[in-house]
Symmetry: C2
Subunit: 367 residues, 2 copies
């Protein structure tokens, strides 16, 4: 299988995403990485034992010193306390301003290593080596980094573009099924918001994706990155268009924050959130029930949740609304939802609380 490249164009902060079968072991994967004395590999307790050595090997040929820090695993660890482990390692190892940070792991590792890179000495270079499908198709593009706050997801962070992203598809073979499905949620997302042809392709290749056929995974990663790259390049700091990538995330973040970080995987919450946003789009008269049904079947086929959890015994919809008002897209207390305004096209819209409550009530009922 060939190596493919997706170029991300941010003028001075442009970089390449490379996608291929065994990239970790290929010296060519490590070109275009800044020359420095020191590298720091940031990984977690699950990924480091699997792939740490395969990254360390080639890096030892490039850097005089290769340090490592292993974080605890999981969204519930995406906080300042864990971030401090990275800063402590950087400072204890006398890492200077040229130090290159490598994020080896999923979205949580990437977000935290990237944020540490953004802040250490006010900015050092970093390279993403995403080892989950979710990280390969989502967090590898766009430079969003950050940590959670008990009151809201990704509330503290920075835009910091990586110098290169190395997507080794081989790492997806060791992924837990639940993690694979969570990643497919973000793959599916690109269809309704931007590319109906890709939605057709996903439906036709669902079995191959679930069976982790490398060529199917390779295409899914490449196409997802291409779509995200096109959207993000037009709007690096998320002032407008880019927000459509948050389809499903307004409801999804409420689920993640409301249940407590780590209860549902991010992709699971996004999948369920997409169905909620699709139903909202339908109630707003933008799409028909057939489209909602089609998206529901796709989410179901991947084994992702189609029903939303209750977040409060008393006023469940009220709790959702309260959490969603904290969303970063909210303006002056008004929640702004990403809606599907036609299959393959998305936009931002507000909606009356009463309508949103109806959607929440409908989605939280057991089948």
């Amino acid at each position: 299988m060939n190596v493919s490249t997706v170029a991300i164009d941010f003028q001075a902060r442009s970089y390449n995403i490379i996608i291929g079968a065994s990239l970790l072991d290929d010296p060519a994967s490590y070109s275009e990485i800044p020359v420095a004395q020191t590298a720091l590999i940031v990984s977690n307790t699950v990924v480091a034992p699997l792939y740490g050595a395969r990254l360390r090997g080639p890096l030892r040929d490039l850097f005089a010193k290769v340090h490592e820090v292993t974080l605890p695993d999981g969204e519930q660890c995406k906080n300042w306390q864990t971030l401090e482990l990275i800063f402590d390692s950087l400072l204890h190892n006398n890492c200077d301003r040229g130090t290159v940070i490598f994020a080896l792991g999923g979205g949580v590792v990437g977000d935290m290593a990237g944020f540490a890179a953004a802040c250490y000495m006010r900015g050092v270079p970093f390279v993403q080596v995403p080892t989950t499908l979710l990280a390969q198709v989502d967090s590898s593009v766009g430079g969003k980094t950050g940590i959670n706050h008990p009151l809201g997801k990704n509330m503290i962070g920075a835009f910091h573009q990586p110098r290169r992203v190395i997507c080794d598809l081989g790492t997806l073979q060791t992924l837990a099924t639940r993690e694979l499905s969570a990643g497919l949620a973000e793959v599916i997302k690109y269809g309704p918001i931007a590319d109906l042809g890709f939605m057709d392709w996903i439906e036709a290749n669902m079995q191959a994706l679930m069976q982790r056929e490398p060529s199917a995974l390779g295409y899914a990663v490449r196409r997802s990155c291409e779509i995200k790259a096109r959207v993000v390049a037009a709007d690096e700091r998320e002032s407008g268009l880019r927000a459509i990538l948050n389809f499903g995330h307004t409801f999804g973040h409420a689920i993640e924050t409301g249940l407590g970080y780590g209860q549902w995987l991010h992709g699971e919450a996004v999948a369920c959130g997409m169905l909620m946003a699709a139903r909202l789009s339908q109630r707003l008269g933008l799409v028909d029930s057939a489209f909602v049904q089609r998206l529901t079947l796709l989410v179901q086929a991947v084994g992702l949740p189609t029903h939303a959890p209750r977040l409060s015994a008393a006023d469940n919809a009220g709790r959702y609304l309260e959490l969603m008002r904290m969303d970063k897209k909210a303006q002056a207390g008004a929640i702004r939802f990403v809606v599907i305004d036609a299959p393959g096209s998305a936009s931002m819209q507000s909606a009356p609380d009463a309508l949103v409550r109806e959607v929440i009530d409908a989605c939280c009922v057991a089948p």
Copy 2:
């Protein structure tokens, strides 16, 4: 006394510093501030009682909601724990992405409020209202924000430019004498590195400055900002020239970190550090003893320390060197000093450890 303006040119991130006698009470001071629903005033326990109400008044005419958070005072509080107070306030008050953060206080408040603004929702606008001389002449220009790490000063931070800086010279009248002197250290700094004429002026106007004559303070603030603006505009991210602004800071940060944050004021450490760097310049054959003597007299006249503290009973110079190797300007373990290469001109240079040890030994001896 008139209001003067120093324009800081960073293309899309350009802003104005306004300097005048009673700016807090003048509605015109608050032009060029982004329109939003919400403002958050970040101040500390010393400054908030003095000037909080005078800032709150005019902001209430501009923002529907004006929230406040009061931090503990002092360099020893410039850490994540204190920063969290700002994030907690932002989130508890449902502050959205348009929220404007006002930093009302000295350098510590400005650095932390600016860093919180850089990170909250990946970036919200902020306005500096510096109330110390040090903050007016130093942290108001250049967009450096951040917090300390136990192992190094300002190690975690971001570049984030304010939208406007309001330097009300009246606030300098309530400054403790020790704080005024500390601020004058940074004013003095601009002479040796960039403008010998300004050094002449400071010598001639020392008495007026120490007596806080508004016109003398106004000129000192304006000229300092102009010099810093010229240097910074050429090098926003500190890749080269800008580093000369750190004259005295390599030794100074070692003093601050080595003694424990808050023992010496930043300006005190910088003053002493400038004399150490000047002596190093002399030993490197760049300036003569007359120049070192001239700078020493100036530092002495302001009541700032001319002798360095011992940081270790065992190997004092070794401890200085160890701390300085953590400096952000260090590269691959080599400390890079800002030296005066001719009076009024500075550059970056390495120096043999033995020579640096001699300088430290000479400066740490009591007179």
